[in-house]
Each structure stands twice: as structure tokens, then as C-alpha cells.
């Protein structure tokens, strides 16, 4: 097994509100291995974006409540502002969900890149060759460097941010819903470009966050499914898709439309009910109210059980096999 690059243990990131804490990431644990693409899947409000953003840019109203995320021997959740500034971008970087809006509209692209690199003891000139090489991967001409953000289309800006955020060759790249706002044909090209960047060592490992399991299937080596702020299941992509363990993963996979299945012949089923409100939420499995297999024990928090490399947080697997 490859070494862990990032180890997350019992991580808790809450949102502080007038009424109490919204427990968006509540006791999440996983490791990101060197060279892998770890996909994080889940529905809106499951905490996947809070987790990805919290690891890189923890900002109020997000509050780090407990646990740790070890990168390079240090808990990056508990560093001073000065230390985190150095690690962020150089060691761990992010392509945010609204990458299109991440660029300062009053500056030329070249200036934006230079400013950022100077913060990290480098410069545009120093990295010129690398920048041009990376632009070619994402199918952008180097002419964009002399343009203002407004002159680029949304798709071009997104690809540009893919290049800018990885210029320091970070160990970990968090890609947060980068394919969600795109047309299907563009979606595929963006996934392929990201893969090529990784092949060319633009980053070591990727945390790829999306609500779209079908996209994740294309790029992730392993998938972590989140539900209501907790880990539901972690496992190798192919195994999880063929043989999902957690009832939530099973139902989610079964609800996906696929070519060959049409309403007139076969009816797909959704998951009845809605996710719980995470404000001041109490103990117990958070899926229990929608789960067809729930039983008495589900009133207690399930730990994450380890089944030969596959992890699942469900009492059905307390004795290893599904009961």
C-alpha cells in the first residue's frame, strides 16, 4: 500500500450560528495516499465542500472544533496564520467551486499570477516555462496571459485556475465541484486535463469532490461517500460500485439513471425522506430515519468499521460481515 500523504482523524468543522453549531463535518477520518485520486461524493449539505475548503482555507463562520489533519508531520488545522500561509498553495491547494469568480477583474492574468508567485518567493519570469507548458495541457494559448479575466469565457477561466492553483506542484490538490457547472462535453475534457496534469506531476494526490458519482467513477481510485457530515463508506472505486456496503451508498447507486434503463420498462427508485438538519444534531446514525434496515442499535453513533481495506460506518457490519 502506498504511504499516506494526508491523514485525517476525527476531524470536526462546525458552523457557528445564533442558534448553536451546525455540525457540517463531524468526526471525519480518512487518509489520502501518495499518488491517488480520492473522490468525495455526497449530496448537498453532506459536508463534502466544508471538508475540502476547511482543509485549505479555514475561515469564519467555519470553526475547527477538534481532530487533526496531518500533512508533512504537522496538524494543518492547528497552525498559526503565518505557518498556514506558507503551506497553503505550496503543499496543499484548491480549485474552488466558483473558480470563474476567483480572478481579480482589474488585473491582467500575468499580473495575477506574478502577485501570487511572489507571495511564495517565486515570480512569473522564474516559472514562465512551466506556465506555458501547463497552459498547453489545458488547451489555452499563452495569449491569455496578457488578457483580463473578463475577456475569457467561464470555461477558459476555470481551466486557467486549474493551472494557477497548481504552479507550486502541491502535494495535495482539492478540486471542489469543478465539473458541476459545465456542459457534458466540457466536463469530460476537464477531467481528462486534470488527469494529464497529475501524470505530469503538477500535484501528487487529488481530493476530487463532486455530487456526481458517475464523474467520480471516471477519475477516482478510491471513493469516500459522505452523509450528513459523517463518513458513510470508503473503498476502492470499482469494488464500491460493484458491491456497495452502506445502505445509503446502495440506494444512491441504485437511483442513478443509466443507458438501458427507461421509465417505461423499469422504474428507478429514489431515497425516501430528506437529510437531517445538522444544527445541534444529537447522537445516532444520521441515516437511520431514511434507512430501510435501521434497528435499535442505530440510536447510537456507529464507528467506522474496517473490513479488509474497506471502511463502513454502519452497525450492520459490527461483526465484519453484513448481518
Amino acid at each position: 500500500m502506498r504511504d499516506a500523504l494526508l491523514t485525517v482523524r476525527d476531524l470536526k468543522i462546525y458552523y457557528r450560528t445564533l442558534y448553536g453549531y451546525v455540525k457540517a463535518v463531524d468526526g471525519v477520518a480518512f487518509e489520502l495516499r501518495d499518488g491517488e485520486v480520492l473522490g468525495i461524493a455526497g449530496e448537498s449539505g453532506c459536508g463534502k465542500s466544508t471538508l475540502g475548503n476547511g482543509l485549505v482555507l479555514l475561515k469564519p463562520p467555519m470553526k475547527y472544533v477538534g481532530g487533526e489533519a496531518i500533512l508533512d508531520g504537522k496538524n494543518i488545522m492547528a497552525l498559526s496564520q503565518k505557518e498556514i500561509k506558507r503551506i497553503r498553495y505550496e503543499k496543499i491547494s484548491i480549485i474552488p467551486q466558483y473558480a470563474m469568480d476567483a480572478l481579480n477583474p482589474t488585473k491582467k492574468i500575468r499580473q495575477i499570477v506574478d502577485d501570487l508567485l511572489r507571495e511564495h518567493n517565486s515570480s512569473f519570469e522564474e516559472k514562465r516555462e512551466l506556465i506555458e507548458e501547463r497552459l498547453a495541457i489545458v488547451n489555452l494559448s499563452k495569449k491569455v496571459l496578457n488578457m483580463y479575466p473578463i475577456e475569457l469565457s467561464g470555461g477558459m477561466k476555470q481551466r486557467l485556475v486549474m493551472v494557477i492553483s497548481t504552479l507550486m506542484n502541491p502535494d495535495v490538490l482539492v478540486a471542489d465541484e469543478i465539473t458541476s457547472a459545465l456542459d457534458v462535453s466540457t466536463q469530460r475534457s476537464v477531467v481528462q486535463m486534470l488527469y494529464e496534469m497529475k501524470e505530469k506531476k503538477a500535484m501528487k494526490s487529488i481530493i476530487f469532490i463532486t455530487h456526481d458519482l458517475a464523474v467520480l467513477y471516471q477519475i477516482a481510485d478510491r471513493i469516500m461517500v459522505m452523509y450528513a457530515g459523517k463518513v458513510a463508506e470508503i473503498g476502492p472505486t470499482e469494488e464500491m460500485v460493484r458491491n456497495p456496503l452502506h445502505p445509503y451508498t446502495k440506494m444512491l447507486l441504485a437511483s442513478l439513471p443509466k443507458i438501458g434503463v427507461r421509465f417505461v420498462n423499469e422504474r428507478l427508485k429514489g431515497i425516501p425522506g430528506y437529510p437531517p438538519n445538522l444544527l445541534n444534531i444529537g447522537p445516532g446514525c444520521r441515516f437511520r430515519e431514511r434507512c430501510p434496515k435501521a434497528f435499535a442499535k442505530c440510536e447510537q453513533d456507529p464507528p467506522i468499521f474496517d473490513l479488509n481495506g474497506r471502511k463502513v460506518s454502519c452497525w450492520l457490519f459490527e461483526r465484519g460481515d453484513e448481518r
Partner: protein
């Protein structure tokens, strides 16, 4: 007999300050819809699918062409006829949160339907009718009525809007990306709801960018590219035997669990060219030939109920 006929529909938007240049959002589009059918309009952003929906709902006026509903031209309807039209044709849109006025309770949506379209229904009967339609879209009336929009989820709000359609017993629903904001676990149920409505005799124009959803629910599929329908017909035929190179490219890029892409392959679909060629897909087309630039394009029937706008379709 088709009860909605769209004939040579064109909608141009002026471009630039003086509006001398025009953008053809919808370009000479013709199709028909029969009763009790779901027809999906599938296309990427800028394909004109939403504009067609808005034209059918009379939210926009066409530059040229006609829309005929039940024998009458939709754009020449007068007062009472117009009320009747909206009694029979309604829309539901992408963002459920913006379809509700946040300062009123949910109940108002239904009250307005009764006031405007069903004044003959007595006040005493109204509540029972509302509860009945809410139940049939899978909602519990006691959890919905009396609430404000912000207290409900997107999936619940979208179902409420469909319940409103049920109350009216609408004949044609324009559903514009109604499930793209919903989560995977709830979106299938809303789709199934459309399928059930179809069984009751309603037709649906299902506008979507998501091919797999269109495939699942619709009887017929229209594939749009930059304002034109490039391929249309029986859903199974269009998806199983795609003929237009654009449809093929789209289908290849749909992600599906269990079918892996070759990530090493270079896939660059994006180049959008000028408008000079007569085929709009010319600049991106892998099988183009010189005469595709200039020749007049016409829909060709490749098999029964399956047509394609491509010169190379018959060859």
C-alpha cells in the same frame, strides 16, 4: 393528431449596442407533440432549448414561425382564449426557490390557482383538493401547508409546483431543467412523477442538458445544437443509433458508472467556430467534407421516426 405543432420557429436576439447583429437563439425549428407523450429537448448551454420553452409559454415572442396548440395559433389568442391557454399549458422551472414569493406561505400558490382559473370550486372543497394533489406528489400536507418557502427543501418546493400543475389538470407542461438543482436521491422521484402524469394524459416538454435523464423519461428526444434540432425521433432510436456526429460526441461524454473513459485520450470538444458554414457543427465535425460548408441542409429520415440534420446521414 398532434396537439402542439411548432413550425419554422425562429427567435433572434439583437447583439451589441445598436443591435445590428443578431443572435439566432432558435433557428427554424419544427416539431410536433402528441397527447400523453414526454418529449425531451436536449442540448448544452446556448443551444436554444430554454428559449423554445419560453416561446411555448408565450413568455417571448418569436421573430418568425408559428406555434399551434389544439388548432389555434398561440400568438393570436385573445383575452378569454389566453386564460384558457394557461389553464391547459403551464411551466415549471429550474430554481424552485425563485418560483415562490418568500414573504407568503405556500398555501398562496394554490389559492391563486383557484382564484384565477377555478373560481367555481367552493371554498369548502378547496382544502381537500389541495391535500389530494399534495399527497399524489408524495408530500404530507400537514408538513407543507402553513409553511414558508425557506422552511422547505428544493425537492419539496419542486413537488409543490408540480402539485399545482395537477390541481389545474394541465394538458401540456413545459419542464425546464426542473431537476438539475435536486439531489440524486430525490431527483428520480420527481422524474417518476412526470412519468405518472403522462399516464394520466398529460404531455411534457422536458428540457434538460442531462442526456441520461432525457433517456430515462422521454418517449421522443430532440437534440439541439446552437438553435437547431440536429437529430430527433424515438428516444430509443436516437440513443441506440445516434447518427449526427454531435449526438455521438455528446453520448460519448456522458459519464456513467461502470463505463470508464480513456483518460489518456485527448478530448477537446470546445472550439466554437464562426457562422459561415451552412452546417453549424462544421468547425467541430470529425467527418466533415467540403460540401458541408455550402450545401443546403435538410432533415433526413434515417429510419422510421428518426431524423437527422446532416448531409452525411444517408451516405
Amino acid at each position: 393528431m398532434s396537439f402542439l405543432v411548432v413550425q419554422n420557429l425562429t427567435k433572434e436576439y439583437p447583439l451589441g449596442l445598436l443591435g445590428k447583429e443578431k443572435l439566432k437563439a432558435v433557428d427554424d425549428v419544427s416539431f410536433e407533440i402528441e397527447r400523453s407523450k414526454i418529449v425531451s429537448l436536449i442540448g448544452e448551454s446556448g443551444s436554444g432549448k430554454t428559449t423554445i420553452g419560453k416561446l411555448v409559454l408565450r413568455l417571448l415572442k418569436p421573430t418568425s414561425g408559428r406555434i399551434v396548440f389544439d388548432g389555434k395559433d398561440v400568438f393570436s389568442l385573445r383575452k378569454e382564449e389566453l386564460r384558457d391557454y394557461y389553464r391547459r399549458v403551464q411551466g415549471v422551472f429550474q430554481d424552485p426557490f425563485s418560483s415562490f414569493n418568500p414573504i407568503y406561505k405556500i398555501d398562496r400558490v394554490f389559492d391563486m390557482v383557484f382564484e384565477e382559473f377555478l373560481p367555481e370550486v367552493k371554498a369548502s372543497e378547496r382544502k381537500a383538493r389541495i391535500e389530494q394533489v399534495l399527497v399524489s406528489v408524495g408530500l404530507n400536507p400537514s408538513q407543507i401547508l402553513g409553511k414558508y418557502p425557506h422552511q422547505l427543501s428544493g425537492g419539496q418546493l419542486q413537488r409543490i409546483l408540480i402539485a399545482r400543475i395537477l390541481l389545474l389538470d394541465v394538458e401540456l407542461l413545459v419542464a425546464d431543467e426542473i431537476i438539475s438543482m435536486l439531489d440524486a436521491s430525490t431527483r428520480v422521484d420527481v422524474l417518476n412523477l412526470l412519468g405518472d402524469l403522462k399516464k394520466r394524459g398529460m404531455s411534457v416538454i422536458f428540457i434538460t442538458h442531462d442526456l441520461s435523464l432525457g433517456y430515462y423519461i422521454s418517449d421522443e428526444a430532440l437534440i439541439m445544437y446552437r438553435g437547431s434540432i440536429v437529430e430527433m425521433g424515438d428516444t430509443e432510436k436516437v440513443f441506440r443509433n445516434p447518427v449526427h456526429p454531435y449526438t455521438r460526441m455528446l453520448l460519448e461524454s456522458v459519464p456513467e458508472v461502470g463505463k470508464k473513459w480513456d483518460l489518456r485520450e485527448r478530448f477537446t470538444p470546445e472550439l466554437i467556430g464562426g457562422d459561415s458554414a451552412s452546417c453549424k457543427y462544421y468547425d467541430r465535425c470529425p467527418i466533415r467534407e467540403r460540401h458541408c460548408r455550402t450545401a443546403h441542409l435538410q432533415m433526413v429520415e434515417v429510419e422510421e421516426n428518426h431524423k437527422v440534420l446532416c448531409l452525411k446521414a444517408g451516405a
